[in-house]
Subunit: 554 residues, 2 copies
């Protein structure tokens, strides 16, 4: 009997990845990665060379199709797999990444008449130029008592769908007019494969103010933003929202031609790249916390009741797994802080020493920081280099280091930065627990979980929890493959539920990080200090961080 | 008619300097510097190689004599000056730097039987190993309501005379027994030149708890420290304290032989190296503030009444100029913070860029920081890298940086550090003014005043005062030379008062730093934030810095 494979497509910020997985064993049989030829477009438009404003971040959707054409044949060939052996396809994507298209779903940026119009291009998730629109929309939602606001901690992000669309209307109404659709890039890739315009409940829920009960914001609300937006839902934004695990459609002729796979192959509804890691990290029940640890840190948990959770960035029914309320919290910068420090704060003599030893600066720092005892640095930091996402949802906050002396060395600062991010995670966990969201098991995935042992041990010590790490080092692509198998269903050679898929395809590493009981007391004491600073600077004791930011921009 | 010269000897931490000055014109005709061959001894004793404990800092008194033998002939020769043309000699020295000697004023460390006994060596001002003794002495002074305590802001320093002597008694009673004298190194150099044991009112007042009215701590107090110390004053510490400007004595035969100068040449009472800069910077009246700006920052002012000034480290009658109450305040680290940052915080790519341009990292930082507007960094710091000397007198405080983001660059931090030290100075000035000490003119000297234009401009802007810089770049040696001229008196070819000497010999640079009115508002706002943080972290709002230090040492 021939093998059965499922294909996961993972679209990240800088590159796309394909992963071919054995449905039965979960074995990852072949993978390939392609950096986007156009990368992140944040300086000038390709061809026209048009200069972009600050805070812009675009992409070229042709790169997404090139990934399909390149990566899928590559993994099939590596595995000597036949197209008919692929039972399903899943797609995850960064979000909210929005493609404006014409009626035929051709991205406007690919049409000659719009090629030099920045608003015709794909707005990447980290396009932050719609801050005014986000602020104004939050205000209007608050004035109107919009119910959806409370699901997002009372504040909407400039990264989300409506501010991004509204910015197009405000700044280039012609492009707005020309756009027959605004569609999440993940949903657009699914459309290119199947011909179907489906909208992922995960993306619509976390980024589009959609809920299973209430749908999208209604016409009156959208008209309050701008009367021209009144009928947006149903025209430019189709309300065909589907929960995860659904089959969005089947490969059509052009999709088959793009990929080299068989027409009729089931394609799953798309998923946000962070959330797709959940089943691949064995997250299937309430009580589990998943930490996706990379440049930022995303905390996912599953609730069983529809309730507001203060300090959590989003609560979306079916947003992570069907039939659960998916909770998402996060820290806006974690790995990014270490990268900043390594770039901007590590002195030349460390760089030289690392070079002499033939190791990276990270390794040198990690080794020296690991030799320190908790508290030995004498430092305490607030990890708000990119603001605070959870629990304060305040981008105007900033980072702090305290305890500096003439004897402070780079490894002291490095360790204090790691500890600060650990305290930030503990605060999120305690915020959840205090509101009745159980956290009894900690699952981890992502680059930091894979590579930074010191960080993992500090997190275990600070959280006083054993940390388990996903077995796969490509949990996103694996998660997508698992959703592909669920779209196929047991009858189609896959699985009927994501739990079934997780049981066979997902797993954890044997090695775990256990808390060192000897460090508990000191970390409890330091955490108490962290919370005291967090309250003082973050909750109204002293708004100096906000005032400094406004002085900075005045 | 032949010229008249006065000779200034300036003993710093790392080196000694001699300066020959024309009495009439103030022209600095010749100078020479000698780094101490034994430098600061803080690792191992010379010869025996005995390992020292942490916080120890010793010197070899032979280096001081070698400086006399080397530097004085050198400057005479450079100037083609004859010994009889030198009308007076002045000496300044770091303090409190203590020499234990035998009855003949031979340093114990030079005697073979004590050569390998660390306590027989000179304890340099920055020997910090007598902290226990200082703490205990403060406690006893408080319990006994000792009057002198209030002159030092309620706290005694481990750098001072009595803790240093007490440490000898506690740790090596034999050396204590063998010491016929404990004498400030400045006074010891004067003794070597003249044969007289005089004690400088400046050093006794700022470092020995002495006052013109009350003398040294009395026998009962010293007995409360240790009964064996009861009779210290009058035996090992002679009470022959003399105000500045007095002639301590005249060169005797051995002094003449040491220096190549004429027997009978007047030698002034010694002065602390910081305080001697005052007349050389034209400080002669109440209302003037002198800032001696180097690794740390020393603020001197002259009061006309005997009153307690809270937050000022020392108030000593005749301690700076005769007939004034000399006020000393300070910031424990200023240049040291920038040196720390340049060493520990400036990344490799800046070092490389500076090297490519052929400039120092300081210059690169200064240039970039100068291009920033006030507030543009978004950062605010507390300049407590070495604790806070004035106004809080709290070594357990530590540094803080706030406002950090992923966009923070090294020049942002550098500018924020400069601004923080400027705010620290403003706080000291406002603390003085609030207590009726006028500050209407700001005089500056020292390396930072000479070299760091950006810093000077920021200080002018933050203080909203014009800053004037001493003309001489060797204000300490010049000040000593001026005191030498006063020791000679007008009849002896010098001057009768230090004011007369200042009028002829001291001066200011033509260039001054004037406050930029456009920066006033923003610096007022930032200073307000600084004070708010200072109060919160320094005055009981949140003692986290102290707690972190005790965790660090636990």
């Amino acid at each position: 009997m021939s093998r059965r494979y499922t294909l996961g497509l993972d679209y990240g910020t800088e590159s796309a990845r394909a992963l071919l997985v054995d449905v039965e064993s979960g074995e990852e049989v072949a993978t390939d990665v392609m950096p986007y030829p156009h990368g992140v477009i944040d300086d000038r438009l390709p061809e026209s060379g048009l200069k972009l404003e600050p805070e812009w971040a675009l992409q070229d959707p042709e790169d997404y199709l090139l990934a399909l054409r390149t990566l899928i044949p590559s993994v099939l060939q590596q595995a000597s797999a036949k197209p008919e052996e692929v039972v399903g396809i899943g797609v995850d994507f960064t979000a909210c990444t929005v493609v404006p298209t014409d009626e035929a779903y051709r991205p406007l940026s690919t049409l000659p008449q719009y090629r030099d119009r920045p608003h015709a291009w794909v707005k990447l998730w980290k396009h932050h130029a719609a801050q005014d629109e986000a602020d104004r929309m939050t205000e209007i939602a608050r004035e109107r008592g919009a119910e959806f606001l409370r699901r997002y901690g009372g504040k909407l992000s400039s990264e989300w769908l409506w501010p991004k669309i509204w910015q197009v209307l405000n700044e280039d109404p012609e492009v707005y007019e020309a756009a027959a659709r605004f569609i999440e890039a993940g949903d657009w890739v699914v459309q290119q494969l199947t011909g179907e315009d489906t909208r992922s409940a995960c993306q619509a829920g976390y980024k589009g103010c959609w809920s299973a009960d209430g749908g999208y914001p209604d016409a009156n609300f959208l008209a309050a933003l701008d009367p021209r937006m009144r009928d947006l839902v149903g025209t430019k934004v189709l309300p065909n929202v589907m929960p995860l695990g659904q089959k969005a459609g089947e490969l059509n002729a052009s999709g088959a031609e793009l990929t080299g796979l068989k027409p009729g192959t089931p394609v799953a509804v798309s998923v946000i790249d962070a959330h797709v890691a959940a089943p691949a990290s064995t997250m299937v029940r309430s009580g589990q916390l998943l930490m996706i640890m990379g440049t930022s840190l995303c905390h996912l948990a599953l609730g069983t009741e529809n309730r507001e959770v203060v300090g959590v960035a989003g609560v979306v029914k079916d947003g992570i797994l069907p039939s659960f309320y998916g909770l998402e919290a996060g820290q806006a910068a974690v790995g990014d802080i270490f990268a900043w420090f390594t770039r901007q704060g590590v002195p030349a003599y460390y760089t030289e020493e690392a070079a002499t030893e033939g190791i990276s600066v990270y390794h040198l720092l990690e080794r020296r920081a690991a030799a320190l005892k908790p508290g030995e640095s004498g430092l305490l930091a607030l990890d708000w280099w990119n603001g605070n996402r959870s629990p304060l949802m305040d981008a105007s906050l900033s980072g702090l280091i305290l305890g500096l002396t003439l004897d402070t060395k780079p490894e002291h600062v490095y360790r204090a930065l790691i500890e600060a991010t650990a305290f930030g995670t503990r605060l999120i966990v305690e915020t959840m627990r205090r509101q009745g969201i159980p956290v009894d098991e900690a699952l981890c995935c992502g680059g930091l979980a894979e590579k930074n042992e010191l960080l993992m041990q500090i997190y275990a010590d600070v959280l006083q929890m054993e940390l388990k790490v996903a077995r796969s080092s490509q949990t996103c692509a694996l998660g997508s493959a698992m959703w592909g198998a669920v779209a196929a269903g047991a009858q189609g050679g896959g699985y009927d539920t994501i739990q079934d898929a997780a049981e066979r395809m997902a797993g954890l590493q044997e090695r775990t990080f256990r808390p060192n009981p000897g460090n508990r007391e000191i970390y409890d004491a330091l955490y108490e200090e962290y919370v005291k600073l967090e309250q003082y600077f973050g909750e109204g004791g002293n708004d100096v961080m906000r005032r400094l930011k406004s002085l900075k921009h005045s």
